[in-house]
Symmetry: D2
Subunit: 392 residues, 4 copies
């Protein structure tokens, strides 16, 4: 543990896209929020020592290392932040928890339900010893999404009838886009479903406070083979024997599903990387008996609210979610001066650190993450069985 | 037949919401479009003679009648326009076609596949005798929807990957809203599914030129019993024995489904009357390999187009569909002076009359209408079987 | 006068764009609204007999004529509807009023303040004899604009601080677009200012209930000479001597102004035909001490309202102005089934006919029209004097 | 100077809203951009030592100080970043430049043209010695605004006809809002005009590459007296003699103006703090002969472009300005993961540091800032003279 009890020393495993976003959070969170603890960016870990050192320099970590096991064993580390692909989450997280570290793990929690369950078991044990654990469903930390959650809990829409969620991207519509790790099941677990579908499914359950109880789903891989990335030895090995310069895409490009919730709502969801023109298009709409709420990520500082009680002056109102009374905003800028994508990670770090400081268990917990994993597995089972209705 | 070959005399059966919209079309279509034939509003038919006479006066019909069989038998009638609830479509349409009349029939074509098939048979026979038949999927006649169809056919989006359609309303969210005929299966056939879902399903197939090949669906009736409408004897009878002032809602309030098309696309659809704040919210989005198109009825004079070939200047562009080169617009106003809901019926009448004048068979044909009927039946079968995948 | 006191027989002078829009109104207004009187489309008047006869046939008038003086003299005519260019308004309107006819005159009321004043004098005299007069600021009849007026009068925004109005078009950005009559001062009076600026200035005064008391303005003619329209003898004569195939544009292409109102508000206005991409873009925003309202014509069935009393749930709400309690909507379609451009004329005819039926004086009156004329003249004087502040 | 030539040590004067935003920039800029130099947050300066020390701790500065003169005299300081109110800009900036420091000065450059001119003279002298100077018109660094600038320079809209700019806020609509320093002329220089109007005027000139040559303006102070802020001794003194708990608002609440540019365009501008519901609403639209561009800050990651060459498929397209080829984006996140308000300051710091590293002079220069000051002075002169046309 850090010598100063008000400091928590963080080790981050992985330093790619998510690692950069998490670093920005650790670097800045205490500049905006009053927390009981201050993060110290102790060490970043990567397999390639040269690259890891460069990442430490660029992202602002005090040091770098190549062996996460050694880092986890260090006494001066309080927090382990897991930003690697999903196939390594379970091993790292369980080891970290067993070592008594607080663990923040990127989503999806794991690549299988079995892994997720093992992680939950480790989290439960560690929790009893005071180690906090949280899974990084960062979009819960968009102030507008948090406000949506709060308003629904406050009864702003009444009894929920419909939920519709979409997470649409278009970065692999080109068949010449290479076979990166996110397109390989053994690393990524699944494709659009786990990468982005997991987010919108979590958001839906978070804002409604309801759980999905059953699904019927279809998935599709529109482009079955892709060029290998340049210089990717691992992938080359993976396709050894094919003699080709291309490899097989082993995850879904898109998933669509209908669902029911334990609150009696009907829901539809869609996750795809083939929606041309939709860069990072998340839409989540909830219709209740007396009102509705709509969030769109492209307008991430806005939340649309239809208040059915307003009579013939009712309409979908765009709440500019930048008022000091809105979630997280007291730490940020004056009204109208909106946040960006990366701030979700700062807000997430705030919640995680606050939990550490106050000794509370943060959400989403590993149990929440495992529940999403079970849901994703249910979606895949349904899709594999010709969309058969699958209880979650 | 009318004495003047350039005049077609129309008999309209039914004069409620749809009857008013159709009347507006017959009254005005030849004022905006040059057609080979001119409609004459000969007679409106309704069971209640007094009300029918009042409707004739208000809507501009030359006369009224109470027996549609007699009207169909008249030699001076060329066109029969069916605006009644779905349970009467088959009988009227078949009789009219057998009498050699051109028939425009409101959607859904019928309340069952069997009825629809019988209507198709009648249409085929009559067609050989020169009688035209068309089903009233009026939203095809929104200029922006017709442009969407044209652009997709012209390759504006490439190979289609995704279709998502929503038709959301909110007029029965109040549990005290009465049990009107649209909520009774024996009259309406189905609920949101057939009333509005049919529209968006037809629009999706129309704009893509693809057919849905399979579905998994769920439907729901959120409010199971409702007050009887005042003075509705028929309904009173229908609920005799219950001893209550309420009756059972026998149709769906909402339907959600996922689907596949014969062109390899994944699709999602939703139709509901419980989306609070959504008055008549139709959204249809198509994502292709090189572009995307989005239509929203609340912005009915706009069409959003993402042209992937525009490089880093690409974006969803709102085409103001009011240029003379856009579908139907040459008959209307200068650029920027948009149309409203009712104009879809005028445009529909134009297409129907043009088909009569030129001796062509209009679309959507009764076969198209029957195909939608089969699709609706498939949705209902799937919903009844726990969302089992159902081939169409 | 018509024999049947419940019928008013209309003569329409001019049959171009506005004539077509007015004809649509006369043809349909009584099909949607219960009025004390029913319009009869008696005669359309145009200088060219063949064209006038064709217009009568196409637009649904019982007859045509070439001499408006003769028509005005006819006893069977109750209403004179003036749809000609502005240079003829005064002569026709005064003659019609002196003949005891009700007069609906297109805007702007006249091409000069002097003409407008003479028309007011005639209207005042005729009013005493029961002849109604109204000027056709049709955008007041957009339901959303009428609702904006009603809400402001009801205190929905508090004390008005700001008004900003824009009317942007782009139909003459091409320098090869010909020198049509709207670009010639002797016919049109002014350019963008009188044609479209007049609308948005009237709308601003209408919705706020405040009058503009002073302006500073600039106008500009971006393209000074244009090709003569083909076969336009009158124009050919007008440019005789130039020896060229082009003629001088003698009106403004654009006008910008700042203003103050008698209610203490600051205002900005802009009217242009050179806003590339803006087809018929009208925006009117009013900011008050407790709320704001925004209308955009491209979303003509919507009105955006910010209700400052909603605390941190406040936002600009899009009211779908299609509820039966909204202005004019009780005559039209169910919620969510919006209107189009032409319906403003139907609603206008409704108000005019209702005034005739009830013996009330309709608004906007000729006095209102003359006030706008004075405002337009003030804008032109300011622009001619280097934007000098000009009291209205 | 810093010992390591690749490090620049920064002193920031002032630590309120702007100071926090600048600190975030200094803390993070080198984490996202490869620069020839790395900023070191040496010292933050404030009059109150305790508060300054707390600010240093919170914002991440190595130390704090109370005397900016002493700090400027220090050899280890390379950059002076001025974040104080406008009344102190000239004195600090001139002293810093004379001491050979690079100076980044918040906008508006000064509170008077005289001050601004003196600052320019100092900048010119210092420039010859290699000291860089820049004024903080941060909205130029919104990627969409920078893209707008680039596209216009590339001819994307043709010859510019119209510019319209609005900067609307509503934070003082409540008459009970206190008399903060921004409402006092002796500190702030002017009100909405200089605070936010300066931004949109600068943006307009920046994106068009044109200069405003004349204006006619009106300003207004809607609420003339306001409660004194609690515990504001300075203000208490300022109103000594009034014996009241309120003080006089000595700046404008709102300014409206029309303008002409040296490129032949007509322009309108508005800046206000009384637009209820508009939190930080910046709109800038440019209409050219062949296209148009629109920026709205509430959608800061989007830019709307109308490309007139697209024929009847043309429409305002929302470019999602998050592609790596867009300005600044190569340093940030993947497409679709937008930025927020604060990133404009990071991008600004990037440009400033790059200029230092490469020995180039950054823009906007002090000359640019002084030109804006002259423009603001012209607006005030016009407003004081009943909107008389005032050459700039």
């Amino acid at each position: 543990m850090a010598e100063d009890s008000s400091t928590v020393r963080v080790a981050m495993i992985g330093y790619a896209f998510m690692g950069a976003a998490h670093s920005q959070a650790w670097r800045n969170v205490h500049r905006f929020f009053d927390l009981g603890v201050t993060p110290e960016m102790a060490v970043v870990v990567g397999r390639d020592g040269v690259k890891a050192a460069a990442a430490a320099e660029r992202l602002g970590w005090q040091s770098s290392a190549t062996d996460w096991r050694e880092v986890i064993a260090r006494e001066d580390i309080d927090v382990v932040d897991i930003c690697t692909p999903g196939d390594t989450h379970a091993e790292i997280a369980i080891a970290a928890l067993e070592a008594g570290k607080h663990v923040l793990c990127e989503k999806p929690l794991a690549n299988s339900v079995e892994e997720a369950d093992a992680m939950v078991a480790a989290a439960v044990s560690a929790r009893a010893q005071g180690a906090r654990s949280m899974v990084g469903f960062s979009y819960r930390r968009v102030p507008a999404v948090a406000l949506m959650h709060r308003m629904i809990a406050d009864g702003a829409v009444g009894e929920i009838r419909h939920v519709r969620g979409q997470y649409l991207q278009d970065w692999i519509t080109d068949p010449e886009f290479p076979l990166v790790w996110r397109l390989r099941k053994e690393v990524a677990g699944s494709g659009a479903l786990g990468d982005i579908g997991a987010h919108v499914l979590d958001m839906a359950q978070f804002v409604t406070g309801q759980q999905i109880t059953g699904v019927a789903a279809q998935t599709e891989t529109f482009v079955g083979r892709r060029p290998l990335p340049e210089g990717d030895g691992a992938l080359g090995a993976a396709t050894a024997g094919s003699g080709a310069q291309t490899g097989e895409v082993t995850v879904d490009d898109a998933a669509v599903l209908i669902a029911r919730t334990d609150g009696g709502a009907l829901a539809t969801f869609e996750a795809t990387r083939f929606a041309t023109g939709r860069k990072n298009h998340i839409v989540l709409e909830v219709n209740g008996s007396t009102g509705s709420l709509v969030f769109e990520f492209e307008d991430m500082n806005g939340l649309r609210y239809y208040d059915g009680s307003a009579g013939d002056r009712a309409g979908f109102a765009r709440i500019d979610v930048t008022e000091p009374t809105h979630p997280y905003i007291d730490g940020w800028w004056p009204p109208g001066h909106g946040l960006g994508y990366e701030h979700t990670f700062v807000n997430q770090a705030r919640d995680f650190l606050e939990a550490i400081a106050t000794g509370a268990d943060p959400t989403p917990s590993f149990e929440d993450g495992a529940a999403i994993q079970r849901l994703l597995a249910g979606v895949e089972r349904s899709a594999a069985a010709d969309a058969a209705w699958t209880a979650i």
